[in-house]
Symmetry: C2
Subunit: 125 residues, 2 copies
DNA sequence: AATAAATTTAGAATAATTCTAAATTGGTGT
DNA sequence: ACACCAATTTAGAATTATTCTAAATTTATT
């Protein structure tokens, strides 16, 4: 594990904000001002392959990186805001239903956040 | 609903192959040879906003479009191959656990497909 | 120290998607 | 049928995220 990989893992693991590569890049430069963006992508891909971080893709947004600790996500359909939520570990239940063994699963609930619900109501939609 | 929107909805609804915008574009041109790609994106976004089609994003791949009929997905961690699987409707269970009402949910199981498992074994990983 | 292997760098390249502004189309009401 | 307004389409440029390439640097190995 290289110094960049280590630090990037630290940044992503500590964050609860689903950072983009750019944001991670910015955070990493606080410590290593000369690092380049390609290095961030290299390391993120490596860490992801090694199952040390998660990738979260929300349609139409840049990929986000997330700590590995299991949890689920809540995405607002309208504004795309992404929140953590924990619905417990469904692995056993899902494996049983699917009849295969899985490495992991991603569960994303789509809803309307409070702000967007208000806006929607105002417009009478 | 315009003629393009209608046809695009038809194409996506009939397909079980999680088409990309480019693939949908190609299919649409069979019927309307002069249509441009931007129109495909416009319509896909519209149809998605109206909940007539689904968007599926797999990390590192272009967005794919899917029929709305509920079903889940199986993604190979190594090669990215995307398959349909149906684990039944978990909406009620998830809403109860989450304590909110949701519009929909996306469930993606990550596994190693047979081909990739074989390759992995061969390499002793 | 010498060699090999992995990582980083710089910057170009690619690919997906969005944006802009003009042109076209599809109703609506008269 | 005609004028009007809104929505859609078009063409092509622009943007953004990400990957790629080849050289340089760092790290580990003999």
């Amino acid at each position: 594990m290289t110094k960049y990989g280590k630090k990037i893992l630290e940044i992503v693991s500590a964050s609860h904000s689903h950072m983009t590569a750019e944001e991670i890049f910015a955070a990493l430069r606080q410590t290593y001002p000369t690092v380049v963006l390609a290095t961030v992508y290299n390391n993120l891909n490596r860490l992801w392959q090694e199952d040390l971080i998660r990738k979260v893709s929300v349609e139409g947004m840049p990929d986000r990186y997330d700590r590995i600790q299991r949890h689920d996500h809540l995405v607002c359909k309208r504004c795309g805001k992404l929140l953590d939520i924990d619905l417990g570990d469904l692995t056993a239940q899902l494996e049983k239903k699917a009849g295969i063994s899985i490495l992991s699963y991603d569960l994303k609930l789509t809803y309307l956040c409070d702000d967007c619900r208000k806006k929607t109501e105002r417009k009478g939609m």
